[in-house]
Symmetry: C2
């Protein structure tokens, strides 16, 4: 088969591809993240590139000759490399909850000096280990893989019966995953991961002392095949589509594993456990489980509980005997990420009524206490994750996370890690909307008031935009997008309360989770009508609670087991079939709301 050379001029990357490859695939192979929201169907028009100076859609262009390709900035799908998340990222996470569960990592190492066998003490090698460690653990059944037995007798004798036994908790069974000679207990590491539709976040944890050794966050590479779960599920139905989606997520995961381990000079063979929290679609795609029916009414997943597996079964590159565990979900639209969040914030252990609002690619909401819980998903879209907006970005270095607009309409911005402003993250947008409302730059309907005299308001082909910083703007389309997102979340909260005939006053605690980085101004979020106008002291911002719950589960099999109780106790509410949800939604498409009485503290 013929090979052609593709030269990506702006990125200075050159690769060889075989005849018949499409240009989008070639770009992916070159490590260039070309935006394509339609899964390569050629309808979204987002993967425009210049091939030998002629504009084409990359996904529709079959390579039949050598090409010089220029990928314009607008077609680039944000970061292709891992972002170095600041250590601060984890500060918002509710460390205080970790004391709620025993310190009992899902994978544990036990060093034993076993008595040597004699004619009278003639236990088999495996029994010798099990008998010894079962004194230390209260588990009925200790199991091991056949692979582990093959050289067990040699390992035990070569080490003079002094061995380290690495065990994994699986349901009520203890799985001896590896037996190593000597004492290796000082090296035992694990990863917690949150697999979001838009972002993938991973943390390396020392399982001996709970320490977080590093955190990374990256855009989910599946975005190449579609920006949301629906387009990805459609893409999955193509030949090898599911494989590609799984590989994209695995790329994210294995890169983060490699980078964080590498930074701390930790061998992958010393990493024995990885815990995942993620929404239902992400778990299906990662594990190559057919997701087709997730998007077809009545929206049924294959399973909401994925059992603990050996890491290589899923292509995860840690110790090949290591295990991968998954937080259980409730149903298609309330996944393991939100159950993980419930573990993290402790809502399921509260006597009082609490709300957990996770603002990710969708808004997922849990209302309840230790007696009962109901949950719903709002189709909020990823706007507050900085996705789908003109200058949106996630909460990493250089993202505008606070903004103040002066009297002269000039904007004073604060960026994460004081980086050069590159874009605006969710909390930045909330601040901006709030300030723009206060300054009259936008009205309650979200339209830019072009009568304001400032060069920062500019007319474009499709409407008006407001200049936030050099090359960074917020457009009317962005504002419309944000308005729908905040409306979806707010109306979902109210509908859930209505469902159980509770009022906002009954809610004693409101946990706000999401990819806002370290900063979310609750006051401003209420001001724009994203969050209900409740007493501020009831609010708590808890950051990426999905990741936090995964870490807690990694560090405590009690937490992991609790998650398996919690998911059963959450009743899913399908908002689309709630009689008043649509009315609530439409009424919320105003800043802060059509009914101003709902936001008494907001004066506009």
């Amino acid at each position: 088969m013929k090979e052609f050379t593709i030269n990506f001029t702006s990125q200075k990357k050159e690769i060889k591809v075989v005849q018949g490859t499409d240009l989008l695939t070639a770009a992916i192979k070159a490590g260039i993240m070309v935006h394509a929201a339609c899964g390569g169907e050629g309808v979204c028009g987002k993967c425009k590139v210049l091939a030998n100076k002629k504009e084409v859609l990359a996904c529709q262009t079959i390579i039949e000759s050598d090409l010089d390709v220029d990928v314009p900035k607008g077609s680039l799908g944000a970061h292709t490399k891992l972002a170095h998340e600041s250590e601060e990222f984890t500060k918002g996470i509710v460390l205080k909850r970790e004391g709620a569960f025993s310190f009992s990592p899902l994978v544990r190492k036990i060093y034993v000096e076993l008595p040597k066998p004699t004619q009278d003490d003639n236990l088999s090698d495996l029994d010798r280990i099990c008998t010894n460690i079962s004194h230390k653990l209260n588990n009925v059944h200790i199991y091991t893989n056949l692979a582990n037995l093959k050289h067990l007798s040699e390992v035990m004798r070569d080490s003079d019966f002094k061995v380290t036994v690495t065990i994994a908790y699986k349901d009520d069974v203890l799985d001896i995953i590896i037996v190593e000679p000597g004492d290796t207990t000082n090296t035992n590491y694990g990863f917690a991961f949150d697999i979001g539709t838009t972002t993938v976040a991973g943390q390396l944890i020392d399982l001996n002392n709970k320490k977080i050794l590093g955190t990374r966050i990256a855009f989910n590479k599946q975005a190449l095949y579609g920006s949301d779960v629906i387009t990805r599920i459609i893409y999955a139905s193509n030949p090898e589509g599911l494989d590609k989606l799984s590989e994209a997520a695995l790329d994210n995961i294995n890169e983060i594993i490699l980078e964080l381990s590498g930074a701390k000079k930790i061998a992958l063979s010393d990493v024995y456990c990885i815990v995942f929290a993620g929404n239902m679609t992400m778990m299906h795609l990662l594990l190559k489980v057919d997701p087709t029916n997730i998007r077809k009414a009545p929206y049924i997943p294959t399973t909401q509980i994925f059992e603990t597996i050996h890491a290589p079964e899923a292509g995860i590159e840690i110790n090949p005997r290591g295990v991968a565990a998954f937080l259980p979900g409730v149903t298609t639209y309330v996944g393991g990420d939100i159950v993980s969040g419930v573990i993290a914030c402790g809502l399921a252990d509260n006597d009082d009524l609490s709300l957990l609002i996770d603002i990710g690619t969708n808004g997922e909401i849990i209302l309840g206490n230790k007696e009962w819980m109901i949950g719903a998903a709002a189709s909020a879209g990823p706007a507050f994750e900085g996705s789908g907006l003109e200058c949106g970005m996630k909460a990493v270095k250089g993202a505008i996370q606070r903004a103040e607009i002066g009297k002269n309409f000039n904007v004073k911005v604060t960026t994460i890690d004081d980086g050069k402003p590159k874009g605006i993250c969710g909390s930045g947008y909330i601040d901006l909307l709030c300030q723009m409302l206060k300054m009259g730059i936008i009205g309650k309907n979200g339209k830019i008031n072009s009568a304001k005299k400032t060069k920062n308001i500019r007319k474009t082909e499709i409407g008006y935009e407001f200049v936030v910083a050099k090359d960074i703007v917020i457009t009317e389309d962005d504002i419309e997008n944000l308005k729908r997102s905040k409306g979806a979340i707010y109306s979902a909260i109210i509908s859930l309360l209505n469902k159980v005939e509770k009022s906002l006053d009954d809610v004693k605690k409101i946990y706000i989770a999401g990819g806002f980085g370290n900063y979310l101004n609750i006051e401003n979020a209420i001001f724009i009508g994203l969050l209900p106008d409740a007493d501020r002291s009831r609010y708590e911002f808890i950051g990426n609670s999905s990741l936090a719950g995964a870490r807690m589960s990694l560090l405590s099999h009690d937490a992991f087991r609790r998650a398996h109780e919690i998911y059963k106790n959450i009743t899913y509410v399908d908002l689309s079939s709630e009689p008043n949800y649509m009315d609530e939604y439409v009424a919320s498409l105003f800043f802060p709301h059509t009914d101003a009485r709902r936001f008494p503290s907001v004066r506009l």
Copy 2:
């Protein structure tokens, strides 16, 4: 690398091998079973062949040119092909015991017509199945493999939610091994196997109606690498030695599976379960678990319990989602075969004291009742399996299984299936020894009385032999061999009784198991001193009880679970450290015994 052509002239087989291959390996590749007891170390001298008319040891001959090879009859290791065991083979097996356990095959198929999901009944696909079948089964935890989930949603919808769920019992967990569209419950097959050191026996069972669809028995192909467990364990320490031994057993197993399935036109994909009983070394070798320490004091196996695995993990060719289960053993020398025998005969459920004597390659003996059991192994050797004797063969068509010697010293033989006499099996040897003793052809010491005037007594280079039929003899070496075997078993029985201060009179039932085919004359076995001189009515011949117990476990997970209780209740007695065992053994090296008072019913 150069290739040479090896022409096995007598067998009319020609193969090509690469330079450097040894001649023993070449013969194996050509499917010719050359005898070698030393594992290719060149010390047993049994693999003599003529290579270009020059006598060499096949195992010591590296091929450096084309060769014509003649393998003389004496160097051929008996049958290379599967023997077609008569259906009668299973008659002796205690079918009556099968009622002792519920009919609940280790793998079961359940056809379900599931309600279709709706908005209100939105269980995940897996939950829909589990909820439905857990009504039918009292199991706590239902599990399935990731592989099974990948296309589950499609299978369920394509079949309109009418599916067959195939489940395997694993400890207290139910493993859904496969979900198939439609109703396939009418095809569910399994195999029971006894893996002996000398022979491998397999049975195909219809798991819907318990019917035995066929039985096959073959010489264990591992014999190519050594005739007993010790030489095989030594061979396993060579590079790839363990792999070769495992492959040899797998060859036996997969051939029997293929042959029996083929004969009944059953697809391998309809075979979901295989249950193995075998001695500890056989299980280690089959599963490629390092057996080194089995033969080194204090004789410790890696494990005596092999957990249920998926069949492909062990290279077993049934449905790739099918499972392989293993009867648990007690210790190195009392393996899963004897625990299986206990299940089969019901010794562990008897109020009265019983003995189980399994005469295989070694004699394994259990003494006890439902309160307690002790077990021991006698180094009897495989003589009663027809191995290691001049004209010995196993109990298959053509084997002499009964013999009567007339006044003229001519022998009237009865062969299995009335085949042309090919050799002598264990029960035939017992009859012959008995008759020879009675006729004075041999004395109490086992020496042939050359003074007897008959052409059937012949002098050879190494002593005397007695002609049984055309080309079939019994030599003084054979008699010596049989004497040691019977002595080892008898003295082990007496030592076990002594150990617990019981006498033969306390034993109410004596189960005799072993590869004797359908026929064992208990009277004659007592006459030669193999079995103690107890009341004949207490004896019961139960045939291959290891295979019977495996079949019972295949057909009832209660039986399989009971085996896992039984093995824990058997205390192993190391005869070599019993003070009087050696004296007992030496005293038993007479026909029937040095102390004639022990055999009052025997008049010589």
